[in-house]
Symmetry: D2
Subunit: 298 residues, 4 copies
Amino acid sequence: MLTGIHAVFIGGDARQLEVIQKFAEKDATVTLIGFDNLQNQFSGVKKASLSEELLREADVILLPAVGTDDNGKIDSIFSSEELILTEELMRSMKKRCTIYTGMAKPYLKKMCHEHGVRLVELFDRDDVAIYNSVPTAEGALMLAIQNTDITIHGSECIVLGLGRTGITMARTLQGIGAKVKVGVRKKEHYARAEEMRFNPFYVQDLASEVSNVDLIFNTVPAMIVTAQVISHMPHRSVIIDLASRPGGTDFRFAEKRGIKAILAPGLPGIVAPKSAGKIIANCVIDLIMEDQEKWGNG
Amino acid sequence: MLTGIHAVFIGGDARQLEVIQKFAEKDATVTLIGFDNLQNQFSGVKKASLSEELLREADVILLPAVGTDDNGKIDSIFSSEELILTEELMRSMKKRCTIYTGMAKPYLKKMCHEHGVRLVELFDRDDVAIYNSVPTAEGALMLAIQNTDITIHGSECIVLGLGRTGITMARTLQGIGAKVKVGVRKKEHYARAEEMRFNPFYVQDLASEVSNVDLIFNTVPAMIVTAQVISHMPHRSVIIDLASRPGGTDFRFAEKRGIKAILAPGLPGIVAPKSAGKIIANCVIDLIMEDQEKWGNG
Amino acid sequence: MLTGIHAVFIGGDARQLEVIQKFAEKDATVTLIGFDNLQNQFSGVKKASLSEELLREADVILLPAVGTDDNGKIDSIFSSEELILTEELMRSMKKRCTIYTGMAKPYLKKMCHEHGVRLVELFDRDDVAIYNSVPTAEGALMLAIQNTDITIHGSECIVLGLGRTGITMARTLQGIGAKVKVGVRKKEHYARAEEMRFNPFYVQDLASEVSNVDLIFNTVPAMIVTAQVISHMPHRSVIIDLASRPGGTDFRFAEKRGIKAILAPGLPGIVAPKSAGKIIANCVIDLIMEDQEKWGNG
Amino acid sequence: MLTGIHAVFIGGDARQLEVIQKFAEKDATVTLIGFDNLQNQFSGVKKASLSEELLREADVILLPAVGTDDNGKIDSIFSSEELILTEELMRSMKKRCTIYTGMAKPYLKKMCHEHGVRLVELFDRDDVAIYNSVPTAEGALMLAIQNTDITIHGSECIVLGLGRTGITMARTLQGIGAKVKVGVRKKEHYARAEEMRFNPFYVQDLASEVSNVDLIFNTVPAMIVTAQVISHMPHRSVIIDLASRPGGTDFRFAEKRGIKAILAPGLPGIVAPKSAGKIIANCVIDLIMEDQEKWGNG
Ligand SMILES: NC(=O)c1ccc[n+]([C@@H]2O[C@H](COP(=O)([O-])OP(=O)(O)OC[C@H]3O[C@@H](n4cnc5c(N)ncnc54)[C@H](OP(=O)(O)O)[C@@H]3O)[C@@H](O)[C@H]2O)c1
Ligand SMILES: NC(=O)c1ccc[n+]([C@@H]2O[C@H](COP(=O)([O-])OP(=O)(O)OC[C@H]3O[C@@H](n4cnc5c(N)ncnc54)[C@H](OP(=O)(O)O)[C@@H]3O)[C@@H](O)[C@H]2O)c1
Ligand SMILES: NC(=O)c1ccc[n+]([C@@H]2O[C@H](COP(=O)([O-])OP(=O)(O)OC[C@H]3O[C@@H](n4cnc5c(N)ncnc54)[C@H](OP(=O)(O)O)[C@@H]3O)[C@@H](O)[C@H]2O)c1
Ligand SMILES: NC(=O)c1ccc[n+]([C@@H]2O[C@H](COP(=O)([O-])OP(=O)(O)OC[C@H]3O[C@@H](n4cnc5c(N)ncnc54)[C@H](OP(=O)(O)O)[C@@H]3O)[C@@H](O)[C@H]2O)c1
């Protein structure tokens, strides 16, 4: 239980509703900032405005997936009010207050560092990245179905990268009956791909592997689907780039060659906000409870 | 090869392009009626208007998936011209001319019967129904992803019917990580479901199986998701009804209870017209070649 | 429940223990003939000798999987006593007494026919055949692992027949990572094989499909792995023939060519007698309860 | 190619034949020591006795999977000759000679360290461990089929550890239709298990997870299936312990409670020596060729 914990939510999207709900269920004291238009009534949850007084009381602060922008602005789909995480606000936070977000921009990192506030980037964590890979892969699959005139079953798919997202992506495609090749750079990934009955190749040979491809799903956060690679791809093929901005594709060249290439960030929040919210909620609550055990309740 | 076979295509949608292409590749003589707006140039394929002279020459006539409507009208997305299959046109066809379509309405069946023209309904065939089950299941999966805020992975799914579409639908959902229950009425389907690690139940018990369901996929062409069943479903759940019109769901009651219910006919032509066209092409070409073997080439 | 039903078990193997147990649990009156050496004590179950008096009381008689041999002899692994199903015994059975067995030889069929006793051959039933396909496939897999020096994962396997056993066999091999081709003769089986991502071919082309095979699993009860086929197989390959005696393999030629060929009947009773017994028990109990509903309890 | 490389094989089992074959194919100069009874003729491969002169010429030396025993003895199933890796022999090896083995005992490690000879333990490598996990899992599955009277399909299985062997073991069981729970200790393993549709739990809760188990497969190289755990297991259940000697099971207590517990080391060499040999061959050849690239051919 989170009894006695004061959690302040600043901004967010549909995912955050699930987190709020779980916090309320666990008996946390919950205050919402930037949720004025939210109808949904959670029992025992109150709304407030962004203020130093309030943050002074906070044990944990929950920001949206992207934290703040480069100027400290926090997005909320539930409010038109502007929310800025200023120096003053940072300064008001108590020692041991922890800020949770998905991924932090330099602004937020710097702020936390300067003011000695602990910052937890959830999407960095292996467990969260693996859980998030599931809605990511489903979103990518949906895009693939929508953007081709063929069935994914029986199609020639390539997944680049066999990390946390890549394994799930490859498994999802295989599960639906695609022929799956995976591009890797480590021998142990090559071996695991063989065990999983994906057809592995080394990414350095990518250009020679794409001549018959229908779909490429990229999870490598580096320029990998280069102009040279694209020039070997059939015109009908589609690139779905999952790597975080700016992706790993030469989008300009793809467009020039008439090959559809889609940069698709933030899929979990788009295709499965409720599941994505649950992932965040479970992880944060776990971490808070571990902290409680470590430090006691006070 | 189809050398010497004169194939006349009347109307159609994107699927038919694939069929035309395959016929051209197999060296058939191909005439297109109702394709005036089609840019795509197939070598050796000519366009024409609907006329008795032309049909007199036809060895095979290919109609769109739905054949004609109840008044003999044939749809074409490539033309604004009106295409009607009249008595006169039927009369002009030669003995042994065969008409291929997906499913025939009573009008077309009657016409063919009266004029002694062989009619082949492709979607009736077990092989075609199984091939088509693949794009159908992918389309249904796409709808499921779009119409829920959770991942299909880990969700509670029910598939009704373990026929040609039902098996594929259940396998697709299992492949992507859903928890799959299937509702059947035959003991051998129950047994096969257990072997396939679906959780089977008998459809007579449907009402008691839905209390925790996230998604129902119906393939039973009979009223099965009744008001009584719907009244036991959670509000969040979604019904995707694949059975041909009017489906097997009490849509009126679903709406009243605020449960999303989607009638989703014709998915292969929508989500994978190229694959769907290939299925038709392969089957028709096979059948023609078998006929040739049986009867000789003349 | 089976209260009031008198079930007489004559002979059997380890499977029958499971059936006896279930009958006892369901409150049937159970008498065992030919189980003298059985230690296992089931409560409320008594042993007896084969006699007309006893069979006169029987509502159902359960014979072992193979029923009787061609002379009426019934096997029992729990007794050295000879058990013969004579004319006299048959004559003593009451109208509506039903005999359950796996598969009946002509002797038993003739006896039942002549004396008007209903005979149920369980292994004939689609549901039982499908349930039994599971231990059959596991047994075949065990033989494959034992009789090769390679892993089944990654090996080139062919399954002949896509019936009740064939589907399960192919799925089991695919599940463990083999490359699976299936030989069929019906178009709808070809289509289902493609949907299931097996590589299908028509059995008429078998000889040209085996040049690289590691393992053939035959479920076709007809001579299909002929000398001609075997002559195209590599020496290292292994044939596991699951079809009932005499199998579908030219064993003599296989031996001559030095290719290992194994006829493997009765696998469920060998590798999973408890599961196999449960399959029989569930089915028989179901059938008896359906009869009760139809006819009332008397 | 391995042209110019002198490879000396000292002892071994069936696996080594595959390695020798591959070396010969790659044009290495191959000398076999301790293979006097080997019939199999590899072209261009010569046999010899263990001598300083010979080892002086060796570029690479291949020992069996277990290397030497604690006294320097090397096993060979192809010879009755005694083979001892003495100080003198070690001293004769040239700088840059590399010894390849599966796992090295302290004796071998010490020898190599003292004489500055590079030692590569292949089974330590992630890629090799993953490749070997495949025959290991198949061997374990075979043992499971042999040692139960139920089908693995539908049975309650627990896999302990989700490392290189554990993932493959769990996937194999799932592939054949078992209900699979996996015991882990890291959150990211818990997450991956959920993605893969295994049911995860934390190993600290093992005792409370086994009350209904049919089979436990252990891959954790530490005492984990303790007396306390075993006391909660049903009598029918079976433990298959894959961890290297002495395993992770309290075998004494299991025996006392009448629960079958099997320590099963060295499965790849037992159930699939040819595949196991190929894994070794591919890896060693790869490593040699990388060395060649790095250092040139001389
Ligand atoms: N679109 C979305 O909705 C969404 C959702 C989640 C994550 N993501 C993004 O997806 C990307 C992957 O995330 P992840 O969690 O899967 O990360 P990850 O576990 O680190 O996987 C990244 C993979 O890329 C490979 N890689 C990195 N640099 C490479 C290079 N230069 N050449 C070849 N391979 C290279 C890595 O290989 P090694 O193991 O050899 O290093 C690894 O297999 C990230 O950019 C992440 O932000 C997007
Ligand atoms: N939406 C699309 O894009 C799309 C695409 C393809 C097909 N379809 C439609 O989907 C439906 C199923 O097609 P299919 O090819 O799968 O047909 P199918 O093989 O005949 O399967 C129909 C299933 O429904 C069961 N069923 C029929 N009546 C029932 C009843 N009263 N109670 C319980 N179960 C019943 C059948 O069970 P038994 O085996 O026990 O008879 C069978 O398993 C058809 O309406 C078809 O037109 C739609
Ligand atoms: N070894 C064991 O422990 C064990 C256990 C169970 C069963 N069995 C035996 O296994 C065999 C198969 O049983 P099942 O239940 O799977 O039967 P099934 O469902 O009838 O399947 C038999 C398959 O063989 C095909 N077939 C039959 N004759 C053929 C021919 N001349 N050419 C090509 N294909 C042919 C059938 O194809 P179509 O569909 O086109 O007719 C069907 O797919 C039987 O002999 C049975 O007794 C053995
Ligand atoms: N029987 C055979 O034929 C055969 C074949 C191959 C390998 N093996 C043996 O199998 C074992 C596993 O090999 P591997 O390659 O899979 O190793 P691995 O990748 O290191 O996996 C070992 C697993 O055990 C877990 N683990 C270790 N200590 C633990 C503890 N105290 N409590 C809970 N979990 C613990 C590890 O978890 P963390 O990730 O949390 O550390 C890891 O998941 C080794 O002993 C190896 O020699 C046997």
